[in-house]
Symmetry: none
Subunit: 140 residues, 2 copies
DNA sequence: AGAAATTTGTCCGTATGTATC
DNA sequence: AGATACATACGGACAAATTTC
């Protein structure tokens, strides 16, 4: 018997709570989050719902999950720079809209956007850097 | 009775197949993908698995889903030659490299870069903003 | 080295809510 | 208002990677 989700969906509420814990340092950077089964017990939600919440954290770049190990809290990349980029070709994260982007998307300055960055190299030299911005989906 | 998934997971195989259809034009840009229930029938997979596959497309920027409507194939902004259709506005200008870009290109902060910005709209709504950066050609 | 336990990954089925047509 | 289509949530089962003993 599915529990209704009037208003804010359950998995987002849970994701929000976890996000607060990470950002406030209750779960320090690099530390493992509670396991899915522990979270299942704490939030009285099904495992699928917990996994959905964790997926939200991953998309926001707040956590990283490893098969068989667990989910780590990430170091927060303070406002858009700080070299966290290893040798990734493309990465995705959440950024704040600058005045330019805010005007285009019709949102407020500082609103959350998804940034997908692709680095194209020829040999070792960087040819182009492409950044694609889109609104953060309200659902999904 | 769950179906085993030795090797490549089912949802990725399905996502790959759909990606091919979008990139090859079998599903043209802007068109609706088959509904989840149709895909469920075609691939003989559960709806959850289909949704997982579509989520992969979304993350890759190949599709956009709207509640109650369906999932659209996105226009791909790959060809930078030859004018695209007029749903895309492009402008180009010179900008200064921020610390992030400077590190990538291996130049000093503030160095000149060419920024090409493309705004993709559907109707009046801005779908994506893409910014491509490259080094300014060494004089002429 | 190997077996067991732990933890995340994949997949299925079902039921109900919510937005759009 | 009804039909269609996506979103959320539950539960169960087995697979795969990691850690522990």
């Amino acid at each position: 018997m599915p529990i209704p989700h009037h208003g804010q969906p359950r998995y987002r509420v849970i994701a929000d709570e976890l996000r607060k814990r990470i950002e406030s340092g209750v779960i320090p950077p690099g530390a493992l989050l509670p396991t899915e089964s522990v979270l299942t017990a704490e939030f009285q939600a099904s495992r699928g719902t917990i996994r959905q919440a964790i997926a939200v954290l991953r998309e926001g770049g707040l956590a990283t999950t490893e098969h068989g190990r667990g989910t780590y809290a990430n170091v927060h990349l303070c406002n858009r720079n700080s070299d966290q980029r290893s040798d990734l070709e493309t990465r995705q994260c959440e950024v704040s809209a600058d005045t330019d982007l805010a005007a285009l998307f019709g949102v407020e300055v500082g609103a959350a956007l998804i940034e997908c960055e692709t680095v194209a190299r020829r040999g070792k030299k960087v040819e182009t850097v492409t950044r694609t911005y889109r609104l953060r989906p309200i659902n999904h």
